[in-house]
Subunit: 296 residues, 4 copies
């Protein structure tokens, strides 16, 4: 089986490496010379264009920054769907709006190419370690086909529903995550200002109805959760600007279906404020900074 991999950045590069380690034949394309060189050094076959990679492949996996790149790669003038073999398969692991991948999949059907969405959670660390979770949107038959391929790059796959459902699940989950992280930040900062010991407070929350992933695993207050970014200056985590991107997708998708998301809308702006003030590259739990006095 030949796999074409489009987009060999921080995430995609590591995922492609795991395919190569698993003994797969991988054809790759990226705009960056440096990314292509690393890919070649690991045994990948470098191609000149997405089309050049895709036309030889049984499976295409794409990992791209935004919806417009997905549209360009699949649907554009030099789009890959036009050159792919009937019966072949595409897995888009980019995080984009659900409508775009539905559009791509509809176009794929015209070429007898199955397209599914499989956005990930786990970040660059999970991509490198091969421990990603894939949220897959695909029909049952396609899901059976993609699962073994994804297993080379991750440890969990969840079948979320038809095409687009992977993206929907991801943006809904991450919207809740972005809000609850800021909520925990507010609760911890408030408690601290009111004079309670923050370990005692975290203890109460985590054994009570306020507990959540953000309070237990990734508490934004330093030295509460072991190994959380808060304990190392908010480095090596899920960057604020990526949370901002996901919140933007959620708010955009909500706007497309005219669904109000009041806390979601405010959370988007809070992370935007956080990024504006210089924390775009820090873990999103650095939102706690917005609730503390400025150190001058």
């Amino acid at each position: 089986m030949k796999i074409a991999f489009i987009g060999l950045g921080n995430m995609g590069g590591s995922m492609a490496q795991n395919l190569l380690k698993a003994g797969q034949t991988v054809l790759g394309y990226d705009l960056s010379e440096k990314a292509l060189q690393q890919f070649a050094e690991s045994g990948g076959i470098v191609c000149d264009s997405p089309q050049a990679a895709a036309e030889q492949a049984d499976v295409v996996i794409s990992m791209l920054p935004a919806a417009k790149h997905v549209r360009d790669v699949y649907l554009g003038e030099m789009g890959i769907l036009a050159v792919m073999r009937a019966g072949s398969l595409c897995i888009d692991s980019s995080t984009i709006d659900p409508q775009t991948i539905k559009d791509v999949a509809a176009e794929g059907l015209k070429h007898q190419v199955q397209v599914c969405d499989a956005p990930v959670s786990g970040g660059t660390i999970g991509a490198k370690a091969g421990t990603l979770t894939f949220m897959v949107g695909a029909d049952d038959v396609t899901y059976e086909r993609v699962q073994p391929i994804l297993s080379f790059m991750g440890k969990n796959t969840v079948h979320c529903g038809a095409v687009g459902a992977g993206q929907i699940a991801k943006i809904c989950n991450n919207m809740i995550l972005g809000i609850s992280m800021a909520a925990v930040a507010e609760g911890m900062a408030l408690g601290s200002r009111l004079g309670i010991d923050t370990h005692a407070l975290a203890g109460v929350i985590n054994s009570s109805s306020g507990r959540c992933w953000s309070s237990e695993i990734c508490n934004p207050w330093p030295d509460i959760s072991p190994n959380a970014p808060a304990g190392r200056g908010y480095t090596d985590g899920f960057a604020s600007q990526l949370m901002l991107k996901d919140l933007g997708l959620a708010i955009e998708a909500a706007g497309q279906v005219k669904q109000p998301v009041l806390l979601g809308g405010l959370a988007q702006q809070l992370y935007q404020q956080l990024c504006l003030q210089g924390n775009a590259h820090l873990d999103f739990s650095s939102i706690i900074q917005q609730y503390l006095p400025r150190e001058n």
Copy 2:
């Protein structure tokens, strides 16, 4: 040991009953004749005033609606601190702002009476079943004294810190809870509108970083969490107006220390909108109503 119980309403009445069942001598006071009658029928000794109950007691427990009642009972013209014996003990289980109980405790010290705060979680069901959790604010010595007494009425006690820390822990926890419940409501409603199966969505959230008490135990979407209020028309839960009260306390306390809580402030208003539109007595997970089209 004689215990005086001030405030025999839905919560306090059941708590006093559990003290009586445990064989304690309980002197009680309430403004309601009906509450006093039920108390008497269970073996309690009815008193004419808080002072009448407190002056004979070793321990006073109070369960009152709001801070002003606490001030009246403890500090007012006919306040109980003035008549209590040196060395006696007061446990206030009302949910009020932290400053009020600190003021009461400071006044208590003048009379050699220890005052601590022990607000509860668990609601009327937990009060009746004797399964409440108490969040206790007290010094170490006092905490040792109150724990066995509280064990007659609950199954957990958490020592949160000095006087006031119980209230601080409760309002911080409940502020996070109120926000995360609304966040889950937004995420579930958005996913549903975008076309994902809500069980699949809940499955992803609960195995991922969006998981929280509100998504797992008390999901606002019907038929996700077993036995949650959403499955019975949002009845028999934690009433929206009580969540609104707790958010009000959090926002007020935040204002006293000038601590911004942006999501908390918005959440307060969302539950206020919910109550205004007729859902004050429903479980607070009925906040999902604010995100669905009106059924006309």
Copy 3:
């Protein structure tokens, strides 16, 4: 001078009629047969495609629903820029994001075609009456050229800056408008609930620092502002869904430059909630409904 008019809907149709009344030769295109028929009956020359209209014209005016239509008409496979004569002029009066019109203008330069943005305020009534205000983004020379043309369709033109500035001015103004309308609604509803006479309250606001267009000219409380939509069941105004569209553009543009707009983000969601609950076609001052008890 020949003018091509692309988009003959509620707004564009009336604008084209005013050009015809002023004695101009107008070539028109729209997807709707009915719109074309009305245009023909008024003396317009119906064309088969945007290109067919534009290739004969000295000036193109477009009035389209959203950015994707603007891109299709100007830049798409059958885009008009490719067929327009060097030295000709395009005026886009659609309300869209600033970036799109900048992209179109940049492409226009390659064909020696000047493109400017001139979104309007004044609504369908102003379009019909020829009393629109145009917010123009253009260089000084181009502004001199477009002003006499716009004067056939409106009574004011404001030169906001270079290409895109008209859109920027419009979305910033309308974001402030959307927020301040909701703010006045909150203030009037709060005052009324607290027991003040609403006319007295409006009097204080309008002679004090709370005064704004929304409190003076278009107060959301009935019978405060003469002739405001609030006095006629919120009909015949600026529809909530159009305010929602403009807030969506503002939040999207803010996201593109990573500019936090916290109240703007919340306002977008409030109007989204309003539309979800059945008020999409009512004037946006019907936002007051969100602050009143439901009439059941």
Copy 4:
């Protein structure tokens, strides 16, 4: 006529001076020795207590920091209502919640003392210059009595309704003001980031539907409004902490009547964030700082 003045701070001190300049006999009380000394130097008669001042007076005017001081002065153990002559008059110019002054007025009636509320706008500059605006809550007869007295200290009096209506009008107006100032800050900051000239943008807003006091008279962007605090480093204006206080009163009053004010609740938190970050003493238009990159 003898006037007692309770509270001779920045505001009250200047107001009392204007009464003295107008030839009135004024008895004064304040906790601050320095304030009393200045008052004495201007010809005022210093008293030992509020009661000492009030028992000799025909009219009492109070200007106090918060509701608890008002309660203490009027209703407390040493409260003035108990010693005032039947038929005398009290004017409270403090900014407090409406309920407190209603309670004081009800108690006043028992002593045949008329109490009305007359909070001000105009700040310390207006207090000094005698150009304050008074928002008066009183019955018609009482309003006739207070108007000539207030005219010594201000240039406008507005009759807002019955007792409490002055406070209601003030907090509703100031809530709208606080929101609209932040809305203008968001709109100006967004426009600037998108590249429009800020003078051009302000020109559009102020001739269009976004115009408000905050955009015209006190624009938060520097050098837009002549003489606005933005042009002098946000000094000598209406301090952020005072806006925060007024928003707190509005949110508290809204909570008492269970009235949702979503933008108001968010605005309170935004100003709280502003104050936390060191701008409590700057004019509230410094809220623009929250929307700009940090200068480090």
